[in-house]
């Protein structure tokens, strides 16, 4: 890290001194009332919002910065009044906050052309539409033009501030980028920062960074060739950009601090079978390794042919303890995307949306996390009818029906979705300019993804019933039912046996694992062949997001010895009650299901003691372990290097551990900033690690 970067790190990350520029919190309906009075349509409101927010912004530029822009407005305004939004909600399904979110733009839509050329293209389009009598489309093109002008105006204000503060470099760059496309890496990074910043100011959240090492590579390559940069100065630039992603990420909306969707995907197979991991990918890993920041969240695309050396680079990053990289397996994900009807042209370009859900940059307006299907809920429903079943197969058949029922119910809820328009996002999504159509109305892919929550709880519960009720006959059906309904009260020994000694998914026991294979297959079956009301398909997944907490809160005790209200394991992970046979058995069990059918996203998360990263040889072996999961056909994996003692201390003395980073579900966050329930879940799992 150079002195300049170190200084910036101290200023922005350690001291957070830039917070002094932040403006006070304001009423989030401060503009909505006006927009309503003026009788504006939703698209115009979206254009005005960006304009009004950017006008509120007070440019802040420091003399030695190469990549500028800082958020000072704390409260992003809504475009609808509360009453208006209530009205909309009564007629539509509102996903999360009703904004375009959790997708990945194709930034090259602007990077390649620049604002002036883009504007000219849009003006042509507008004329075409007007001539053809397509008023609505023509009007929409005007909204896009206004948006560009708004951003240009904002950049001019920033350029003036840059001049004032003596940063001529930034002033020149900004002035150029007002009209022209970037030509150097430094310019491209500044331009990306502007686009990304304006997306946030348009209230789009969880905006993925996509295949950064691919779309930035041409600028890097050109600069290198022409001698403008060398590897060291490229690293410095990338580090500055990474730092910029941490300047105002705490203002971004998310479930928890750190959950802000600034995910980046590196490497991956090209269509011709060659590997795309390049010098710039490596520099990104290096930057993340040196900065140890939660943003950007690094993902690595790997496949059967990925050499161990790449996993070693990744594992060196894991060793730092920030919970990246997350690996995804091209071999499995390509197949999954094909099955869901993605074009061969697009699948090679996949990335993660915000956390782990796979999406195509620029083409995917999939709602990848539309809802969560709780496996334990289905299993509990069946087990409550236990007395009706003569054998285990009959019970399983009923579980299958319950999974279908629940999947149907969830499908039906997700219809007639409304989202606020976003002309800003539309500028970087393919087809919006061409068709005069806002991104909120959908782009090429409009599939809906469902999480699949609590798979381990469900599998372990069924395996437990099979063993204790149907096979060993240690318990009658009635006794098992009574025990779970009474939450095992007065039955400590049974609870103990089921919880700690019962069969568990993750012990590489074929009979237990087979239940997991079936449940996941049925989930995929239940969604397959159905279409949503915007023509998309449904994608089954193994993620959990928050659902593992929401859906377990009120759920009764389960035959795996889980008591009422106890959490399911997060994502695609084994039970957190007991130590399993070990990491080998876990990766073997968890690679048995037909993961190409349930690859909406959701990693197997494994915690390894930080001693497993002690020296180079150990790092290499840990890397080989990750490679093994991928080679066995695993879809997505994430490894944490952890030390329980540190976490215990952090809970007691948060003041000493402000920078302790842990991985939660799809993202990493600062441990001391997490809600206690997450802290506890993380620590519980850690007690079981090797």
């Amino acid at each position: 890290m150079t002195d300049r970067i170190q200084k910036m790190y101290d200023y922005y990350v350690k001291d957070k001194a830039h917070h002094e520029f932040r403006q006070p919190e304001t009423d989030k309906y401060r503009y909505a009332v006006k927009y309503k009075e003026q009788g504006l349509c939703d698209t115009d409101r979206a254009v005005y919002r960006l304009r009004d927010v950017l006008n509120e912004e007070k440019p802040v530029v420091f003399p030695d910065e190469k990549i500028v822009l800082l958020r000072t407005v704390r409260t992003l305004p809504e475009i609808f009044t509360e009453d208006e939004f209530k009205e909309i909600s009564s007629k539509h399904y509102i996903h999360e906050q009703g904004k375009v979110c959790n997708i990945c733009p194709d930034y090259t839509n602007l990077l390649k052309y620049g604002f002036a050329a883009k504007k000219a293209e849009i003006e042509n389009k507008a004329e075409e539409f007007a001539k053809a009598g397509k008023k609505e489309e023509a009007g929409y093109e005007q909204a896009l033009i206004s948006t560009i002008e708004t951003v240009q105006h904002f950049m001019e204000r920033y350029a003036q501030e840059a001049e004032k503060s003596g940063n001529d470099y930034a002033a020149v760059t900004l002035r150029k980028l007002i009209n022209d496309a970037p030509e150097t890496l430094a310019e491209a990074l500044q331009y990306l920062r502007i686009i990304h910043y304006c997306l946030w100011c348009s209230f789009n959240y969880h905006n993925g960074l996509g295949r950064f090492d691919q779309y930035m590579y041409p600028y890097f390559e050109k600069d290198m060739k022409e001698g403008r940069i060398d590897k060291d100065s490229a690293l410095e630039l990338i580090e500055e950009f990474f730092l910029s992603l941490n300047k105002d990420s705490d203002l971004y909306t998310g479930m928890q601090q750190g959950d802000n969707g600034q995910s980046m995907m590196l490497g991956g197979l090209n269509r011709d079978g060659s590997e795309s991991f390049n010098e710039l990918s490596d520099i990104c890993l290096q930057a993340s390794l040196e900065l140890k920041l939660i943003d950007p969240k690094i993902n690595l695309r790997v496949n059967k042919k990925t050499p161990l050396s790449e996993y070693i680079r990744g594992t060196e990053l894991t060793k730092v303890g920030i919970g990246f990289p997350q690996y995804s397996n091209d071999d499995v994900v390509f197949e999954a995307l094909r099955r869901w009807g993605y074009d061969e042209d697009d699948i090679y370009d996949y990335t993660v949306a915000a956390c782990w859900e796979f999406i195509i940059p620029g083409y995917g307006t999939d709602i990848v996390n539309v809802n969560g299907m709780s496996f334990p809920k289905c299993v509990i429903a069946s087990i409550n009818k236990l007395e009706q079943f003569d054998d285990f197969d009959a019970l399983m058949e009923d579980v299958r029906c319950e999974i279908f029922k629940e999947s149907d119910r969830l499908r039906e809820t997700a219809a007639n979705v409304y989202m606020e328009p976003s002309p800003m996002m539309s500028l970087v999504m393919n087809g919006c300019v061409e068709n005069g159509r806002d991104v909120s109305k959908g782009c090429k892919y409009n599939n809906y993804g469902f999480h699949g929550t609590g798979i381990a709880t469900a599998v372990d519960s069924l395996a437990s019933v099979r063993k204790y009720v149907f096979e060993d006959k240690k318990l009658t059906k009635e006794e098992m039912l009574t025990a779970v309904r009474n939450d095992f009260r007065g039955n400590d020994e049974l609870l103990n046996e089921l919880r700690y000694e019962g069969p568990k998914f993750g012990n590489d026991d074929d009979r237990t694992d087979e239940i997991a294979v079936k449940l996941l297959d049925w989930f995929a079956d239940a969604l397959e062949g159905h279409k949503n009301d915007v023509g998309g398909v449904y994608r089954a997944g193994t993620g959990s997001a928050m659902y593992y907490i929401w859906q377990s809160e009120n759920e009764q005790a389960t035959p795996d010895g889980r008591r009422k209200g106890e959490q399911f394991a997060a994502n695609y992970s084994p039970s957190i009650f007991t130590r399993l046979d070990g990491p080998f058995s876990i990766i073997k069990s968890f690679s048995k299901p037909h993961l190409e059918r349930v690859s909406n996203g959701g990693p197997l998360t494994i915690e390894l003691s930080d001693t497993m990263f002690r020296n180079g040889e150990a790092v290499e072996k840990t890397a080989a372990f990750v490679k093994t999961f991928i080679d066995l056909g695993g879809h997505q994996m994430q490894i944490n290097a952890v030390n329980l003692e540190t976490l215990k201390d952090a809970k007691l003395h948060p003041e000493n551990h402000r920078n302790l980073i842990v991985r939660v579900w799809g993202w990493s966050g600062y441990f001391v900033e997490l809600d206690e329930c997450y802290q506890n879940q993380i620590m519980k799992r850690m007690q079981l690690i090797i």
Binding site: D492, E493, N496, F584, A618, K621, I690
Partner: protein
């Protein structure tokens, strides 16, 4: 025939080449004062209790019928609501254990790894481990041993493994006897066999402050290793203060008899002098 083990650990990264599974055999003839696996000393099952999280609910003692002296019957294990009690020591036939280990054959093969028998002291259950090693043929097999066993047993074990990690604690016989409870004569004799066997091997030295971390002991050790082509390297394992952590859990006191706070001397010049490759872990 049965063997008794106290743990099986998958994904061992410090116990030989590649990623491995290590089997910890229960029972050991030595009594090193610094032993950090006290549950591996006795040849019989034992109750092990972790007090981290104990609610002092008394349920365990309500159940116990042998309050004066624990007989490791295990009756109290399931009544503990916090899952703090367990019996360490599980018996296996060689067939059962081999079947369990062979399940992960594909993983060993993918990573140039294999299986390591450790302990405790594996050679203290000779018939069992030889039967087991025979069943594991085709997989890379390593043994981690203190070298204290009859020479013919040692030779047979050597015949059935691909890689050896052997401890050399102290070269001075009297000192060895004082700190481990046994003379090192058999150990040194077995070292000679090992050197002649041609099997690749590693020498491990747990460096105990003030006991064997002296230049003198190191140079004596190095002197014994100059003529061994099959020696891969020497590995020094500096003493760690957490070594005593598990004594209380099996109701024993940790009485190391040396100053545990003293800094370990990790100087490696004695090995450098003889050009012996050395690593400090």
């Amino acid at each position: 025939m049965k063997g008794i083990i106290f743990d099986i650990k998958q994904m061992a990264v410090f116990d030989g080449p590649g990623i491995r599974t290590t089997v910890f055999m229960k029972g050991c003839p030595l009594r090193c004062r610094w032993c950090h696996n006290p549950e591996g000393l006795s040849f019989t099952p034992q109750l092990m209790v972790s007090d981290n999280g104990c609610q002092k609910c008394g349920k365990c003692m309500d159940k116990c019928e042998h309050k004066d002296k624990c007989i490791s019957c295990g009756e109290c294990v399931r009544v503990c609501p916090m899952h703090l009690r367990r019996i360490v020591g599980t018996e296996y036939t060689p067939e059962e254990l081999a079947a369990r280990l062979l399940k992960d054959k594909v993983i060993y093969e993918m990573n140039g790894g294999g299986i390591t028998l450790s302990g405790g002291e594996p050679t203290a259950q000779p018939e069992f481990i030889i039967a087991l090693l025979k069943k594991l043929e085709g997989i890379h097999r390593a043994v981690e041993t203190c070298g204290y066993c009859a020479p013919d047993i040692f030779r047979t074990v050597l015949d059935h493994v691909d890689y050896v990690m052997m401890d050399l604690k102290l070269i001075d016989e009297k000192q060895h006897e004082y700190w481990t409870g046994k003379s090192n004569r058999l150990i040194l004799q077995n070292l000679e066999q090992l050197k002649k066997s041609g099997k690749p091997f590693v020498i491990r030295i747990p460096l105990i402050p003030g006991v064997n971390d002296t230049y003198e002991n190191k140079v004596q050790t190095a002197g014994l290793l100059t003529d061994a082509d099959n020696l891969q390297f020497v590995e020094l394992l500096p003493y760690h203060t957490t070594a005593g952590a598990k004594y209380g859990m099996i109701d024993r006191c940790y009485e190391p008899g040396f100053d545990t706070d003293r800094a370990v001397d990790t100087d490696i010049s004695a090995f450098k002098k003889y050009d012996i490759p050395v690593k400090v872990l």
